[in-house]
């Protein structure tokens, strides 16, 4: 029983990592209607920038704020420069653009900062939470920050004019243009937001997994799985999905005898696919109904 609890807690802790990433994934999905495969690499790049600033002597919070700001700008720039020209190309062609971006970032990270793992500081400290050995203060802090970001985003989208404009641009670009919304800039804003969230995710994750160019590869895949599980149209669902993936994977690894350890990821994905069989749009996703 204690092992179950421990694994669930450990799952929540890793799940927090996936949840943060899933949130960033869903953000960009809501803005531009597809998945950004380069999200993880953008987050890694941002984290490296932050690390470099700290190396140069900046304080943690100064580096944090600067990195978030720079990432926001980078996101907008990438949209304007890279994706606007291919906006009218088939979806799959845009996918290739993401893959290209991934490749460029990953390779550059390795070349600029090499592959030795680096530590990244955390503002939350690393002592065990409340003295228990199950979850550390940093991990608890991470969960808290993710939930706070989620809440802020919810308020932004539901409660502000800009948020409404962004939702309109994503839901129905043509109609949005007719009401005077500058759809192009809404999409760019969505990109900027998602890159900024990704940067926060990266800076929260790095203290746990150590910073290196390949830091986010696995995390992105798990985050993607979590986002799909929760439902791509629901940010809350994505966060839930991220936590769920963490827990499922840990429990599968521990409790399924014989093959559990080696096939952990496989089992987790099978569970997700099984869930999708029952709810094809994710647990909290809304099934899109379109007029024929």
């Amino acid at each position: 029983m204690e092992q179950l609890l421990q694994q669930v807690m450990a799952g929540l802790a890793t799940g927090a990592i996936y949840a943060t990433m899933a949130l960033a994934v869903v953000m960009v999905y809501q803005a531009i209607d597809h998945l950004n495969f380069a999200q993880g690499e953008l987050a890694t790049f941002s984290t490296f920038l932050a690390w470099q600033m700290i190396e140069w002597g900046w304080s943690y919070w100064a580096a944090f704020a600067m990195t978030v700001a720079i990432s926001f700008v980078i996101g907008i720039a990438i949209d304007r420069v890279l994706f606007r020209p291919v906006r009218n190309a088939p979806i799959l062609s845009q996918l290739v653009a993401f893959i290209a971006l991934f490749s460029i970032l990953n390779s550059s990270d390795g070349e600029i900062w090499n592959f030795t793992i680096k530590t990244f500081p955390t503002p939350f400290g690393t002592k065990p939470l409340f003295g228990s050995g199950l979850i550390s203060t940093h991990q608890a802090g991470m969960v808290a920050v993710t939930l706070v970001m989620l809440a802020l985003l919810y308020l932004f989208f539901r409660g502000s004019r800009l948020g409404l404009a962004m939702r309109a641009a994503a839901a129905n670009p043509e109609a949005a243009r007719l009401v005077g919304i500058r759809v192009g800039w809404m999409i760019a804003l969505g990109w900027g937001l998602s890159t900024a969230i990704g940067a926060v995710a990266g800076m929260l994750i790095a203290p746990i997994v150590f910073l290196d160019p390949n830091m986010m590869l696995g995390v992105l895949l798990y985050g993607f799985a979590g986002a799909v599980l929760g439902g791509l149209s629901s940010p809350g669902g994505a966060v839930f999905g991220g936590f769920a993936v963490g827990i499922i994977e840990n429990l599968a690894g521990t409790f399924i005898p014989f093959v559990g350890q080696e096939l952990k990821l496989t089992v987790a994905l099978i569970v997700i696919v099984a869930v999708l069989m029952v709810r094809p749009a994710g647990i909290f996703g809304q099934v899109a109904v379109s007029r024929v």
Partner: protein, 353 residues
Amino acid sequence: MTMQEHEAVALDTAAVPSEAAIARPLGLWLDRRRLLIGAAVIAGLMAPLVVANFTIFQLTMVMIYGLAILGLNLLTGFNGQFSLGHSAFYGIGAYTAAILMSGSAELSYYWTLPCAGAVCFVVGILLGLPALRLQGLYLALATFALAVALPQLLKSHVLEGLTGGVQGIVIDKPDPPLGLPINADQWLYYFTLAVLLVMFAAAAGLVRSRTGRAIMAIRDHPIAASAMGINTARYKTLTFGVSALYTGVAGALGAIVVQFVAPDSFSFLLSVNFLVGLIVGGIGSIPGSLFGGVFVLFVPNIAEKVSTGLSGAVYGIILLLLIFLMPSGAAGFVRRTAAWLARLRHTSTRGGA
């Protein structure tokens, strides 16, 4: 699919259009196309006689990747089902061939191809059934699960006895039959070329047939298609099976040519490579798949020549340039150029008459 894609695909697979005004230039174009294909085949037959062994090996791999990408094309390009899992079919085909050739069965290499195809067909169908309920990115995740599962399964100690586990399986290179005066590399090239021609022709035939039109109708307007009486479930599942078969046969050929299979060769990254090759070659274009194969093999080499340390970055930049210049892939680019040329000829003909 955008409007441009609709037009482009229609141009490629339509029968002779009704309007007489453009019938002649288009007819000429189709004839020219057959000439081009014929010329390409002849060049393909001559190639191994003039180039070095190592280049023959590369050309054989290009054909194999082209075949694998054609498999993906059938599913994603022609039927609209997004798959990130084709590395798994390629891997299953490769391991089927390797196990049959090296194990107690000691099957001759040419029999492994139909076996690999059959196994993958069955797996494809089994996957196609649950895939019916999933769309777009959700389907992508399910196929991605498959791609991730395969290396783990191959390495697991449950299957180790069969698959050789992490050490993989080493295969012998087949010799040319009947003491033909060519070496093993050239023989494998011709063998692969023959398989390629047969399977490409079959795919072209499939696409032009009623079944093919049904498959494409499902991609373009699934609801209208089923309203017209097309059994979407059956066609979608079948397409999954056929697509897996094609990529599985390619995998078997790959195993024979490389003479080695190991679990981590068939990871998710290979699926991404196939997808990139598909898009660069042109979705919904059969010859485009071959161009995709060329891209997948040669562009990483080119990128490395430019910069060893930043080869990934160079690769990404080349990819971006290609997408900017040819958003519908190489096939789309060729089509557009041909249509533009045809229009030029048409206006000059009209003007002259």
